[in-house]
Amino acid sequence: MASKIVKNHTPLFHIAKRDELPFYKSLLIRIGSIVAALIVCAIVIIAFTGENPLSIYATIVEGAVGTKRRTWGLFQNVAMLLCVSLAVTPAFKMKFWNIGAEGQVLMGGLATIYVMMFYGETLQPAVLYPVMVIASILAGAIWGLIPAVFKALWNTNETLFTLMMNYIAIQLISYYTYVNAVPKGSGQIGIINSDTKAGWFPSLGGYDYLLNIIIVAALTVFMFVYLKYSKHGYELSVVGESENTARYIGINVKKVIIRTMLLSGAMCGIAGLLLVAGTDHSITRETAGGRGFTAIMVSWLAKFNPIYMILTSLLLVFLEKGAIQISTKFQLNPSFSEILTGIIIFFIIGSEFFINYRIMFRHSAKKEVK
């Protein structure tokens, strides 16, 4: 064998870029990767815990959709993660590395809770809700605008800039909850307006989260259309591919950067609104819950396609909900579930490699058979 290789100068295999695969084939590869991930997870489960992998998988499903309440919780969480993912997408498509969604969401939430606390009693609902919406959008948009302006005018590093803006937002929340804490000094503001429910999102048909879900569904359609069919969407993707090309064909790059980040920040602000007025009715440093970072993964896994993002955010939330149930039922540390989630995501990302490239094995053996 070895002598043959030397003779032919052919490596055992080499990698080549594929043409676009037919849909069913790429689907098969994706399904295959999930099956492979589950097999690897099973080995890890048996090796480390001695539990039956099938019962662990059943527990994941049970934890995610085992009861009506869990299913609603699942969709609520998918909606929230999807909302932040939609928000970061235009910026990422423009290759503007906005890792400040966490802070932008928190600022939207802070604006919402401020309006609820100090104007909840005085404003009529017909005025209060629009004020909350505008305040949250403005707060998120400003938090997104600041790094965009610096990037557009002075070419600062947006990754560091947006990251630092997160810390400022978190500290502002800390300060706000310190000043308004109940009881004094506890650093917690608790549930706001629990008796009057002023500024709370109404429950539709008895479902508390339905309004959130509907709003995010509408935003998904909006973002799909915006990216796919609007001039803005086209311009930002050109800026993302090549700034020089964009300049050459007469796109005002600075304007596009600022406009896109305004949109990105505004949508994060809406996510903050939904989390505060539609979910928690309170705010803490953890209100965004890391979604600003998870959203990046959701967006990339879906290749910036808002419709695919429904699937990727569903996958991540499904696994997260399942993880909680695993640690409850088997009394395993939650970190163990995170290992499983990591393996599954690793395989899914890996499958993209096999969809875009193919591995060509040396042909000589086949020829002989022929």
């Binding site: 085992g66 009506k68 629990s194 309170s282 803490t284 819950g289 640690s327």
Partner: protein, 417 residues
């Protein structure tokens, strides 16, 4: 083909969502486990890596095992709507009691309590049950200030030993304390600790550094290091990570811990730890439900109920004779001859519009009257007189501590938390 691909993706997304809905629709929550065993649900803010939560988890598992009920624990539940979801989910799955361990869980648990009137909801460290008027919502705490006082005595003896050994003079006997927030629970804790220390080491003073978080390993480590650099000879803490104890171990400064022994990580510096043992309360609440009795709206554990305990003394770090002295003081606390917040043992001279507001003191600056904010409200209304017979009556009107006076001898380095 391209269009087909898109349509297929949408169809698949819808199909997936539909299956998910279909999967969930039918299942009804079952009220009892197959064996008919009673189920008790627990909600924890973190997992066993937090000393605070570990203390609860250990007690919960022990109590459930002893009484033969099924333990269902949910860890890492944040203080937001997730907590309500977790509580409601535990009630759905047939738990007769749902317990939550973190202060910030309270209102979300109350939300679930309103929805499930037949399930008992218990919450540690909360302040609202005695005024909420919810028959199935209950608070619990323990007179941990007694445990802190005992731990303080051990700290004072250590200071004395170091003074005698000539490591520093009596005037330099400064204690450092890492606190989470300027919240009554923390203030009550460090004040009782300080009073314990000063009862044996009269020249002791204390500095307090707040972190603004109940769990911030880096922040707590930094705060402890700051205090050590400021000349503190001994450190204690009221925050939930291993930050302060490990900072002490690496600096070689004695540490009095909280929530449980840290001797395994800090063999050279750990002296003693006070903690609340929640097992008696868990047994109490489970037995109440078993026997069909009502659970107290506001339950306070004490040294006598076995709720307030101190760990074993670490001979390697503690002063000689610590255990004997602690036994003596503990007896005094139990029979009432020693009162932690005896107003003759401390003075209050800083009375302003923001600090110690409303405190009345005599010519020697000893407290004679003070109203505390016992009934929680947004205006912090000071509603209840708590000084009686020369004593600040901590945990009498509500289990969660309300001692929030800044007494002389303790300096807070940063108040804005």
């Amino acid at each position: 083909m391209k269009n087909f691909k898109k349509i297929l993706a949408v169809v698949m997304a819808i199909a997936l969502i539909a299956t998910v809905f279909a999967a969930c629709g039918e299942k009804e929550p079952n009220a009892e486990t197959p064996e008919g065993k009673m189920k008790v649900g627990f909600i924890f803010l973190h997992d066993e890596n937090s000393t605070y939560d570990k203390n609860f988890i250990d007690a919960a598992v022990a109590a459930c095992e002893e009484l033969g009920v099924e333990y269902v624990g949910k860890t890492n539940i944040p203080e937001n709507a997730d907590c309500y979801e977790a509580a409601a989910d535990l009630a759905d799955s047939g738990c007769s009691i749902v317990f939550a361990d973190s202060f910030g869980h309270e209102q979300f648990v109350m939300q679930a309590a309103e929805e499930f009137p037949n399930v008992q909801f218990c919450h540690a460290t909360g302040t609202m049950a005695h005024t909420a008027g919810l028959a199935n919502f209950h608070n619990a705490f323990a007179s941990i200030y007694e445990g802190r006082y005992l731990a303080g005595v051990a700290a004072g003896m250590k200071l004395n030993e170091m003074i005698e050994a000539g490591e520093f003079t009596a005037d330099e006997a400064k204690i450092g304390y890492v606190g989470a927030f300027t919240y009554a629970e923390v203030i009550s804790g460090y004040t009782s600790f300080f009073l314990g220390a000063r009862s044996v080491c009269p020249t002791a003073t204390m500095e307090v550094q707040f972190t603004g978080s109940w769990y911030d390993e880096t922040g707590e480590k930094e705060a402890a290091t700051t205090l050590i650099n400021r000349g503190c000879k001994l450190i204690s803490q009221h925050a939930d990570s291993m930050g302060a104890p490990t900072a002490c171990e690496s600096a070689g400064v004695p540490n009095v811990s909280y929530n449980g022994s840290t001797v395994a990580t800090c063999p050279n510096t750990f002296i003693i730890s006070s903690k609340i043992d929640w097992t008696p309360y868990f047994k109490y609440m489970i037995n109440c439900v078993k026997e069909g009795k009502a659970i107290d709206a506001d339950w306070t554990g004490t040294i006598a109920t076995g709720s307030v305990v101190v760990t074993e003394v670490n001979e390697q770090a503690a002063a000689e004779g610590t255990q004997a002295k602690l036994d003596e003081v503990k007896k005094g606390l139990e029979d009432g001859t020693i009162k932690v917040f005896d107003t003759s043992t401390f003075t209050v001279s800083n009375i302003t519009d923001t600090i110690n507001t409303g405190a009345v003191v005599d010519a020697d600056k000893h407290l004679t009257s003070y109203k505390a904010d016992v009934n929680t409200d947004a205006a912090y209304e000071k509603d209840t007189e708590v000084v009686e017979n020369g004593q600040f009556m901590e945990s009498k009107y509500r289990s969660a501590p309300y001692f929030d006076l800044r007494i002389d001898g303790i300096t807070t380095l940063n108040e804005k938390f």
